[in-house]
Symmetry: C2
Subunit: 236 residues, 2 copies
DNA sequence: CACCCAGCTGAACGTTCGTTTATGATACTA
DNA sequence: TAGTATCATAAACGAACGTTCAGCTGGGTG
């Protein structure tokens, strides 16, 4: 009945106490329905305990959510660390696997990322910093193209990936690919043609033609608000 | 006290009745705090009416949310139409402007896009279809690069843009650019260097080097699950 | 054995929620 | 002026919420 989180998964946490069960149930519920729409009673029912015990262990629903944030952040950091020490520098396969980590955790992150938790914001800052570091390595080894904006590019790519994760429901509906599922378990051609294929194409060949980009660059980067009005009054 | 939505903005809606005030207040509140975390009483207070009137006009909170969905979808469709009839085909400036449409509506869309509303899902499907159409035009006129995956690419780019919008809070924190603000009003260099600059670079030059992409393509697109396991057992 | 102290429960607390209802104010119509 | 929809409110409803608390349980210790 209860979706029990596999306790190990590379992380050395071995608790299966009621306290841990409550935390896992909370993470799954928060991820599925959002924090505000999840009741303490629902969490308690999922964890097969009384509502009172939830409060007894965590003090309040808010504190529980707080601890879920920290736990998810800790697990993701751990996974990041594991990836880092196993396959060094920028390994796209490992990075992709790390990004698509444990299912409920990923779903949790995708949900709470918009509810303005300071812990999650911190975690995202770290993810961006790490991405910037990885991508600098990637540029150095020639795997990635050089950039004028190392940090901004890392932030944008990270947030784009995260954004796709947040919108996983729509990605699934439109492309038939569930990003919150472990991708290494999906072996069909759908994933390839519907997601990774166009993704690789997009990030290899680009999207915008050079001359158009140059024009847009003139307007937005070199130009100013005046040039932005060129729709109504075509100048130059 | 109340954040009143400008009634016109290209859409021929001129109601300033209490009913409209409630709807506008609900959109703003739903956008800011989420649907579940917003109480009917808070909406009523923002609209300067009694909680009972909210129900009297809309029947229930859920029906109100339903109507907000439909209203936002209608306004966005209207704006899309306006852009379409004014500057034809794929005009990047107009497209960008249309994407960054009216502030509370954009925020609303960014919030409700993850709560699984059928109306919003429908709207997204339309946005993707439109993007596919625009991008096909762009390819025909040479403004965009050709693609093996026309629909998937359109979906990915649309969802990526939407994802950035959803994560606007983090985009703002990391890059100092508020995507929910009207971009034509922001004339400083921050927007250019922090967002549009790297965005243009990313979608023009790409990110991944050709040889790496070719390798990843071999693994993910041409290969299969067997090849995906090459980390543990490096084959071939 | 008595003790006891975590872990845990069931019932209840006060609050807030969405919603209902009875009633008042207002403006149009005959 | 009387009648009557329409718009709006204040008060209250039951349900569900987060939370509290007194008491039950069962394995470890004297």
């Amino acid at each position: 009945m209860i979706l029990i989180m596999r306790s190990a998964d590379g992380v050395d946490i071995d608790d299966r106490t009621a306290r841990a069960r409550i935390r896992d149930a909370a993470i799954t519920r928060f991820a599925a329905d959002g924090v505000a729409a999840t009741s303490v009673r629902a969490i308690a029912a999922d964890a097969d305990v009384s509502p009172g015990l939830v409060i007894h262990h965590y003090g309040s629903k808010d504190a529980l959510r707080h601890e879920c944030d920290e736990y998810v952040a800790a697990v993701i950091r751990q996974q990041k660390h594991d990836v880092l020490v196993s396959g060094a520098s920028f390994d796209p396969v490992a990075a992709l696997r790390a990004a698509q980590s444990h299912v409920p955790l990923t779903r949790y992150l995708a949900r709470t990322v918009i509810d303005g938790s300071p812990h999650v914001a911190e975690l995202i800052d770290e993810l961006v910093d790490d991405a910037a570091s990885y991508m600098a390595d990637g540029v150095a080894t020639g795997m990635l193209r050089p950039t004028e904006y190392p940090y901004a590019r890392a932030a944008i790519v990270t947030l784009m990936s995260l954004g796709m994760l947040v919108l996983h429901e729509h990605v699934d509906r439109l492309l038939g690919v569930d990003l919150t599922r472990d991708m290494s378990r999906v072996d069909d051609a759908v994933l390839a043609t519907a997601y990774i294929g166009p993704m690789l194409e997009l990030f290899t060949k680009g999207l915008i033609a050079d001359e158009v980009a140059a024009a847009m660059r003139t307007v937005f980067v070199d130009g100013d608000a005046q040039a932005l009005q060129q729709e109504e009054e075509p100048a130059s």
